[in-house]
């Protein structure tokens, strides 16, 4: 009998430490697996931000491009504009657009190495709009108007429209195409030396600012928010440094010359070639 009992007692005695050891090991293994899983999810999120959003944005841009060109060919004042009386300056039609709708195409020759960087621009700068392409700050001037036509665009992800904004040099053209006109803006600064701060207005061609610097989209860049318009400017904002939202990189440009009517230049101004 004593021989039968001992193995049971031994087994029971051996079970208890085994169970405690198992529980501890399972717990540690569980924590380890959870942490690794969480780490992998974070890595996957980076993959998402950098590649998957690009896929969505490219699709959105294709849709917007179809939409805007359809809109332009349907609009009678755009498709068959009444020719201006001889000698009269061409005045483009006023642009009236609701939030979320596309209304212009932005061309920045420098950013595509001659391949033709172009993005359809929508009205508004909320996350929803910016996920499709560059957005136009509400309340700022329309292209060609006096004041400051300001646009925001993503640096990394969502098509990365403004990824290479740091490659812009003074004098580089930024061409805005609307239903009936082309507007050529040039980055402020001295093209010969590459110095952004030589413009007599004092406005720099490129600056790095805090996210709170609302004055960069004021009617006169750098001036008071509700202040007067002292020229026709264009401003682009994106985040800086590339993978951070700590600061903003801002580009200022001024309208260079009168608007070009689509009728007289169906393929755009010479500046499009860069």
């Amino acid at each position: 009998m004593s021989i039968d009992l001992e193995p049971d007692q031994d087994r029971q005695a051996a079970d208890v430490p085994r169970r405690r050891g198992d529980l501890g090991r399972t717990l540690v293994r569980g924590v380890g697996q959870t942490l690794i899983t969480f780490g992998l999810i974070c890595l996957l999120f980076i993959v998402y931000e950098v590649w998957v959003t690009d896929i969505f944005a490219a699709r959105a841009q294709d849709q917007l491009s179809q939409q805007i060109h359809q809109q332009w060919s349907d609009d009678p004042t755009v498709a068959a504009p009444t020719p201006a009386p001889a000698g009269a300056p061409f005045t483009p039609a006023a642009i009236d657009v609701t939030i979320g709708d596309p209304f212009a195409v932005l061309h920045i020759p420098r950013l595509a190495g001659g391949a033709g960087f172009s993005r359809v621009v929508v009205e508004g700068t909320s996350q929803v709009q910016l996920a499709q392409g560059p957005g136009h700050y509400l309340g700022t001037a329309m292209p060609g108007q006096q004041g400051n036509a300001a646009f925001a665009g993503h640096r990394v992800g969502r098509g990365s429209p403004f990824l290479d904004l740091d490659k812009l040099r003074p004098g580089d053209p930024i061409v805005v195409e609307t239903g009936d006109a082309w507007f050529v803006y040039r980055v402020l600064g001295d093209p010969a030396t590459g110095d952004f701060s030589t413009d007599p207005s004092g406005i720099p061609g490129r600056e790095i600012v805090l996210p709170t610097a609302l004055s960069v989209i004021a009617p006169t860049p750098g001036g008071p928010t509700g202040g007067p318009a002292t020229g026709a400017y264009l401003t682009l904002t994106t985040c800086h440094p590339k993978f951070s939202a700590r600061q903003r990189m801002v580009i200022h440009a001024r309208l260079d010359g009168p608007p070009l009517s689509r009728a007289s230049a169906p393929n755009g101004p010479a500046a499009l070639e860069g």
Partner: protein
């Protein structure tokens, strides 16, 4: 967690491995196309506007 899933998968080793791969791809797809788009607006590091 993972050993529990592995034990639940049917079939021999190669079938289990395939099942694990398919499960992994499904989870990735759900994360990439459903969870992350919903999560994105709540995160602060994608802001590019001023003000």
């Amino acid at each position: 967690m993972y050993t529990w899933i592995w034990r639940r998968l049917p079939g021999s080793l190669p079938v289990k491995a395939l099942g694990a791969l398919i499960l992994f791809l499904i989870v990735c797809a759900v994360l990439l196309f459903v969870v992350f788009p919903r999560l994105e607006p709540l995160l602060p590091f994608t802001a590019v506007t001023v003000g």
